[in-house]
């Protein structure tokens, strides 16, 4: 069934089709429609789930940690300051190896107050142990929530699906809503290995002494390592069933490219336009869509960038005092590797500033001009 859906409702549909059994959430702009729609679905019985109203995002995360611990597929959604408030419990969810799926609508953190897109809220949760996917359009929002549960439940890690405030959250565009039967076949019910069960009580998440702690944490890290290939496998399998293929990264026209634009989230779409136009003009340029941020798809990035001369990384975020975060991660991934491109780092589009095809053209032109990369990330679009 194809419908014109806003991004937030695509997320709600993703949760509904995944047959989540428990939702706890606190509303925050620009996420609110997600929980509104889900509460209505719970209310009218189209979704058989408990909807728990809570008084904060911290409680929302605590609640889904609890429900997921009892072996119940759980969902929540938040944004910006709400995500920041969850921080402590994000570590808990990952350390307890709970396959929760959460949607985060990327929004700037205050002050100054700004409700528009900026990836800094979720990127600053980098080391909490969550798998993070950054998605491009409303269809991918819906598809990624469903895939999120497959990934999460295979590697026992929580998954965060991130997309841009307003540009996706409030925008209507056509979305194919898959048949429930098909989703049920592809995503079977959640059957945890361990869960809180009064009939067979176990002790959970207790004291781990120094003699085992490193090993436990190594396992968490290795689960992330597995999550990369699992994400690719799940994306492939999803495509085989639903006709839309996904992976940790997507390379467009990269095989013969000399320059590659690495970009994420909704800004990928105008970049596709730019690539098309420049290819038509004969330029050898490709696109690397960074869908996965954690675990970082190091091997995939190396494979795409090997042999290119220049890579432009466009970041809608900034690690204060360092620069564009994806650029930094990509530099890290290709260091100590041979035959890798020079990395040009650009920061733009913060706090809701548009990333237009013209702006991407300008960046490409600058990079093409032959100058070596600046030492620091270049802020593009500042008022001159």
């Amino acid at each position: 069934m194809k419908k014109v859906l806003m991004g937030n409702h695509a997320a709600s549909w993703g949760a509904r089709l995944s047959k989540v059994k428990m939702i706890a959430a606190y509303p925050i702009t620009p996420q609110t429609h997600i929980v509104e729609e889900l509460s209505e679905m719970c209310g009218d019985g189209s979704l058989d789930a408990k909807f728990l109203k809570v008084e904060s995002e911290h409680s929302a995360m605590a609640s889904v940690i609890s429900s997921q611990s009892t072996g119940v597929r759980s969902f929540t959604a938040t944004s910006a300051n709400g995500l920041a408030l969850m921080h402590e419990l994000l570590h808990w969810a990952a350390g307890a190896r709970l396959p929760i799926v959460m949607v985060n609508v990327n929004r700037a953190l205050a002050p100054g107050w700004n409700i528009w897109v900026d990836q800094g809220d979720s990127l600053s949760q980098r080391d909490t142990g969550w798998v993070q996917l950054y998605v491009e359009d409303n269809q991918e929002v819906l598809d990624s929530v469903i895939q999120g549960y497959r990934i999460a439940e295979q590697v026992n890690l929580p998954v965060m699906i991130c997309y841009d405030a307003f540009i996706l959250s409030h925008t209507y565009e056509p979305v194919d809503i898959p048949d429930q039967d098909l989703v049920d076949k592809w995503l079977p019910g959640y059957q945890p290995e361990h869960y809180l069960n009064p009939e067979k009580p176990s002790a959970f998440n207790g004291l781990v002494m120094p003699d085992n702690y490193m090993e436990i944490r190594y396992k968490l890290h290795m689960a992330h390592e597995r999550a990369k290939s699992v994400t690719n496998e799940v994306g492939q399998s999803f495509g085989e069933t639903f006709g839309r293929y996904y992976g940790a990264v997507e390379a467009v026209e990269c095989d013969d490219a000399e320059m590659v634009i690495a970009i994420s989230s909704s800004a990928t779409s105008p970049a596709r336009l730019v690539i098309r136009e420049l290819r038509d003009k004969g330029m050898k340029i490709g696109l690397l869509k960074m869908r996965m941020f954690r675990p970082f798809p190091t091997e995939e990035v190396r494979a795409v960038l090997k042999g290119k001369s220049k890579a432009v990384v466009i970041d809608r975020n900034c690690s204060w005092g360092k620069g564009g975060i994806f650029a930094d991660e990509i530099k890290g991934a290709i260091s100590n590797q041979e035959d890798m491109p020079a990395i040009y780092s650009y920061i733009t589009g913060l706090g809701g500033r548009s990333i237009t095809p013209d702006l991407i053209h300008e960046i490409v032109t600058e990079v093409e001009s032959g100058e070596p990369p600046a030492e620091l990330s270049v802020w593009k679009g500042l008022k001159q």
Binding site: K2, V4, I115, W116, A165, F166, I167, H170, T171, Y172, E173, P174, S266, A267, S269, P270, R272, L273, G352, S354, I355, T356, P357
Partner: protein
């Protein structure tokens, strides 16, 4: 790709109007993208909503700067907003007004469609007589002027999207479709 900008006031339903148009266009096989001006809506304040349509998937994701057509839900906005900003020459301006195209001599580069959507909405008891809900009527006027979408598709979209009085809203669109005064030739 065709781009349309809708001017209204917070609470008038500009976003719903753009969504109704999008749903109608989508039902006719177009790819659509409809979104509000990204920001905070306040009742009564000038707001904008956007609509793009194309044969193929739309990849551009920024606000519309140079629309092909504009729709104005409230004529008083023209006093406070530069409604024609970026409007392409020869594009349609569809205005909710009891006046006629001759009353807008400033818009000589554009085609003008005038419809008294407020009266039509009030006749169908949509909203109150002092604050009629005009967003469905204006969709009918839009269909007639631009010929981008059929009136039946608009009416079906309204029936799907209108939270109350679906038939009255659809009829309002039909009435506006009939009633609109069109000045097809730009005077320049």
């Amino acid at each position: 790709m065709i781009e349309i900008r809708i001017h209204g006031r917070g609470g008038q339903g500009s976003v719903i109007a753009s969504k109704i148009m999008a749903v109608a266009l989508f039902s006719e096989g177009k790819w659509v993208q409809s979104f509000p001006k990204f920001g905070v809506e306040r009742r009564g304040a000038p707001v904008e909503a956007f609509l793009r349509l194309d044969q193929d998937k739309i990849l551009i994701r920024s606000e519309i700067e140079a629309p092909d057509h504009i729709v104005i839900l409230d004529a008083t906005l023209m006093e406070v907003t530069d409604v024609t900003s970026g409007l392409k020459k020869g594009g349609w301006i569809i205005i909710n007004t009891h006046g006629s195209p001759e009353d807008f001599p400033d818009f000589k580069d554009f085609k003008i469609g005038c419809v008294d959507a407020s009266r039509i909405a009030a006749d169908h008891r949509l909203g109150s007589r002092s604050a009629p809900i005009v967003n469905t009527a204006i969709c009918g006027a839009f269909a007639r002027a631009t010929e981008l979408v059929g009136i039946d598709s608009i009416c079906n979209a309204i029936r799907e999207e209108a939270p109350i009085k679906p038939e009255e809203n659809a009829q309002a669109a039909k009435d506006a479709f009939e009633a609109i005064h069109l000045a097809e030739t730009p005077s320049n």
